[in-house]
């Protein structure tokens, strides 16, 4: 490549701008704006909801649910994943459940969880914890079991006992897999929250998307969809930033993209 034409983020800004312009043109000339509201109309709708306070409130509510469920799910999954990776007995005990529930999508459990845990926050947080847990568990376990025997034996031959091998070698060596697992789980959390809030909620971005249909406010719908995407984008970037700064020495090689 020759000299840089412009900074790398400028390319991204350019491509976003081009898409928005096409969108504006499409809704002006090609599609009925009832179905595809123009970017400006969406911005306007977002402004309305901001003024009423519904958008901010929904964002906060959805984010609370996502983050609580995500942390809860990870907090449960990481120890189990570590145990499964370390101990063949734990592995044989837990394996059937992991590989069964891994294929039961959280969305299939929305109604069941509402019956069990009510329409309140609990059912949504548990749902997201569920969606998170199996992804994080599988990643953690596979991270632990892929640590090379040479690395573990090196620690043992340097005098580490099994407890030290676990805390000083296994955990740091599996952090990249845990980190990547949590990043993947974050994306599924967004997927699940949208579905859960459509079925039973009185607030949240999924709720806005679902109810705007009643008033035929497609611009609100778009505003909520875009908010969801932006929030996901921002959380993912924050997670990556954490990986590139505080946890940098552990995560070299997995924070590239």
């Amino acid at each position: 490549m020759g000299a840089k034409l412009m900074p790398s983020y400028a390319w991204s800004a350019l491509s976003v701008a081009v898409v928005v312009i096409f969108w504006q043109m499409a809704s002006t000339w090609l599609v009925d704006p009832m179905f595809l509201p123009a970017p400006l109309a969406v911005l306007n709708g977002a402004g309305q909801m901001l003024a009423e306070g519904t958008l901010t409130q929904s964002i906060l509510v959805s984010m609370m649910r996502i983050l609580s469920g995500w942390f809860l799910g990870s907090a449960i999954a990481i120890p189990i994943g570590l145990a499964v990776g370390v101990s063949p007995v734990a592995r044989h005990l837990v394996d059937p459940f992991i590989h069964f529930f891994r294929f039961v999508p959280a969305i299939a459990l929305v109604t069941l969880f509402i019956i069990w845990f009510g329409v309140g926050e609990m059912s949504k947080i548990i749902l997201i914890a569920y969606a998170t847990a199996f992804i994080v568990m599988v990643n953690t376990a596979s991270g632990v079991s892929s640590i090379s025997q040479d690395k573990l034996n090196a620690a043992r031959c340097l005098g580490a006992n099994e407890r030290q091998v676990f805390f000083k070698v296994m955990i740091p060596a599996s952090l990249p897999s845990i980190y990547v697992g949590m990043r993947l789980a974050l994306a599924s959390s967004f997927l699940v929250i949208a579905a859960a809030e459509m079925l039973a909620a009185d607030a949240g971005l999924g709720y806005i998307i679902w109810t705007s249909r009643l008033y035929f406010q497609v611009d609100w719908m778009f505003a909520a969809i875009i908010a969801l995407g932006l929030l996901g984008f921002a959380t993912d970037r924050l997670w990556r930033l954490l990986g590139r700064t505080l946890l940098k020495r552990y995560l070299r090689g997995v924070t590239g993209y």
């Binding site: 034996n153 031959c157 005098g159 000083k168 060596a173 952090l175």
Partner: protein, 260 residues
């Protein structure tokens, strides 16, 4: 008392098919305190297996293995190991100094003392100036220096080497071979060194043991290399020793062909 004694040792891995033949069979040998003992032999004969038994990461199925007169119960910092793999054994999230200080740190020494000890071994293996680097910032030769320094910092009495320089280029290998001789003489550690390179074996070892092809591998012959250190590979006695061992290994390989 010898540093290591193998007494009629037989070995089969737990994962092996039942009824399949032993990898090592009826193997007896003793390594003296402070000796530089080199093991050569065909691929797959069980050289790494022998080292793992001494390290305590594998257990023999027959016979006795003693280190300093005691049965080997498991890995121990008194028996260090330098691995062939360049990437895997190092802790990639620790700096050079922290990697080298790992042994003292798991022994419960305070951090300042660990780093002080690390510095001593950093200097010994010629890594001064690289203390704060991470393994991925080092060349292959430097990584093996870290492994050696890290092993030394745990204060072992004996160090096992499994083809530590096999993956390095010829020039780096030569430099490290020279330094290893120096380190051995400075520390007085017993060294058990596995290699495929007969020149290297004669350059380093006081005794060079030749293993037969497996299964049921054994040590067929032990050569005393009675040459002063540092050794000169242009010396005619050096060349004679290399030739003798090479001939031995070729005969071993040929006998295998005839059997098949």
């Amino acid at each position: 008392m010898p540093a290591v004694v193998f007494d009629k040792v037989g070995m089969a891995y737990p994962g092996q098919k039942a009824g399949s033949e032993l990898i090592l069979a009826d193997l007896s040998v003793a390594v003296a305190q402070g000796e530089f003992f080199v093991l050569v032999g065909p691929s797959g004969s069980g050289k790494s297996t022998l080292l793992k038994i001494v390290a305590g990461t594998e257990k023999q199925t027959e016979g006795r293995v003693l280190a300093n007169g005691e049965t080997i119960a498991g890995p121990d910092r008194r028996r260090g190991m330098v691995f062939q793999s360049i990437e895997e054994p190092l802790f990639q999230w620790l700096t050079v100094a922290e990697n080298i200080g790992f042994g003292p740190s798991v022994a419960g020494k305070p951090r300042a003392e660990c780093l002080e000890m690390a510095q001593r071994y950093v200097d010994l293996v010629g890594l001064r100036g690289h203390e704060q680097k991470f393994p991925h910032e080092l060349s292959g030769g430097m990584k093996q220096r870290v492994q050696i320094a890290r092993t030394l910092a745990a204060q072992p009495e004996l160090i096992l080497f499994d083809e530590p320089f096999a993956a390095l280029d010829a020039l780096t290998r030569r430099v490290l071979q020279k330094e290893l001789t120096r380190i051995w003489r400075e520390t007085g550690c017993t060294m058990v060194y596995v290699t495929h390179d007969i020149r290297e074996a004669v350059l380093l070892g006081q005794r060079v043991a030749v293993m037969s092809r497996g299964p049921r591998a054994n040590i067929t012959r032990i050569y005393d290399i009675d040459l002063p250190y540092p050794r000169d590979d242009l010396d005619s006695r050096f060349a004679d020793a290399v030739k003798a061992i090479e001939g031995d290994i070729e005969r071993e390989a040929a006998s295998q062909w005839e059997q098949n």
